[in-house]
Point group: C2
Chain length 300, copies 2
């Protein structure tokens, strides 16, 4: 079953202890798509400016991603510039953000896409996320991601939106800040009380905690020895997660666990190089091979 995702499509400038790159294809929706495309047909909803490199567009199309609802607007594309300090890959230091065409962006979606059964609202203003949700039919699965910026600045909007989604992904700092809890199990429970049935808390190198009413589990991250650039790892993770869930009939414990394992594995490739250098060349076969190693790594 198809999957549609709203989020940012960005030009990223990133500095890490391994080097620096400029004008990379980035953004929450683009990274999400790079993970999700391995599992199902992905449609993007987003906006770019006139300055957006044609090569990036061709690249996304070549990866099989449907760009029908990516609009080009007069003005500059969204830009993010960030840096990671050595050893602290969990926290990007944002050096600059240029919203460009994101200001006043109202998402639109083609008529034939309104019935797409799986929807992911990748990180973007929660009011924009809500607007897309209103345009859609009744998706069978709605996933949501956000970030500290919106948790702090648009909490009421985010809380209203959370009541309408099935799955919420957040990193541990965001989850704690949203709930005011410290203990991560209590944090997960508090998030579920805000609406979503499935709670996924990402802990970077420490792996992931999953919680729902029926069960909970924790998996480690795949043991990556050299992290080059973690930008987009969370989005790629969400892509693997939603990608697998989009192709299964039932959200059984087995399939939810499998989705988290796929998510963990595709995200591990993301961090091993700048931008999408690694994830763009991935095949499901390579993901499965590494997932076997992950399963061995966590086997009791």
């Amino acid at each position: 079953m198809d999957l549609i995702a709203l989020g940012t499509i960005a030009l990223d400038n990133v500095k890490t202890s391994s080097g620096a790159r400029r004008d990379m294809l980035g953004g929450s929706a683009a990274h999400f798509a790079m993970g999700a495309r391995l599992f199902t047909k992905v449609h993007l909803v987003g906006i770019i400016g006139r300055d957006f490199p044609d090569a990036h567009i061709r690249f996304l199309k070549k990866k099989g991603i449907d760009l029908t609802s990516v609009v080009t607007h007069n003005g500059k594309s969204f830009r993010w510039e960030g840096e990671y300090k050595k050893g602290d890959y969990n926290n990007a230091v944002t050096l600059a953000t240029e919203l460009g065409v994101l200001v006043d962006y109202a998402p639109r979606v083609a008529d034939h896409q309104r019935k797409i059964p799986n929807l992911f609202l990748a990180n973007i203003d929660p009011d924009v996320q809500s607007r897309l949700l209103q345009l859609m039919g009744r998706p069978r699965l709605i996933g949501l991601d956000s970030m500290n910026l919106w948790i702090n600045r648009k909490r009421p909007s985010l809380l209203r939106l959370m009541k309408k989604v099935d799955l919420f992904v957040a990193n541990d700092a965001e989850a704690r800040s949203l709930t005011g809890e410290h203990n991560l199990i209590r944090t997960a429970k508090a998030l579920r009380r805000l609406g979503p049935e499935f709670i996924v808390i990402k802990k970077g190198e420490h792996g992931v905690l999953f919680y729902c009413g029926r069960f909970m589990f924790a998996f480690p991250a795949y043991p990556v020895e050299k992290v080059i650039d973690p930008t987009g790892a969370g989005d790629t993770f969400a892509g693997g997660l939603m990608g697998h869930l989009s192709r299964v009939r039932r959200f059984s414990e087995r399939e939810l666990k499998r989705a988290v394992l796929y998510a963990t594995t595709v995200a591990s490739f993301n961090v091993e190089d700048f931008g999408m250098n690694k994830t763009c060349a991935l095949t499901l076969a390579r993901v499965c091979a590494r997932m076997e190693r992950l399963l061995k790594f966590m086997k009791p």
Copy 2:
């Protein structure tokens, strides 16, 4: 097979967001023993002052712990006073340390204990740890723990000692500070190059990473919802780890994993109440029952 452990036997004053307790039985060796006694006969090597409450001594004896080599010296017992800030149970704020009889302590061990095959050097001055090691025969398994204080102040002593031990346990901050590495997999590998074959890095609520030449694995922590007092959790963990390894014939992958699961489980009880309130009443049956739940929590 018996297990002998050197470390501190302390009087602890602890403040957490759940309350405060004074003059609790504490110290690295005492907490270690409380975990290890569930698996094998434990002998302690340590020192106390004349002021040490008789009730604490009777308590340890009642738990089956051999105190032949715990000497009483004129002077005050070792005291530690610490506080945990709400939500940060990984870092104790030390308010006061009174070394008392620990100053110039030279460990002694009864003749019949020199042949005990399993030795754990719980956290104490590495020069004291080395001295005990010299007194012992050739233990088949030597485990070592330390802390940031010794990593900073007595690094050469600690590094010399590490060359002589089989197993090293450390929390992630200590492991990073000792090796200068940030990535935890690289940290584990760097620790192994310092001598010990088995490296166990504890990550608090995030679980544990195990590394040796043949394999590595990561397990989550048991999901404790209300942490009351984490003091001694690391020592209790080491007790479960060494306790199980002391009773197995071969350090196979299966038994090493089992040891880490036991360690994780007994440590989870430790944090659920002040001092040894929970661990003192533990039975192996209760540990095994919770371990089953841990296995379910981490099952892919």
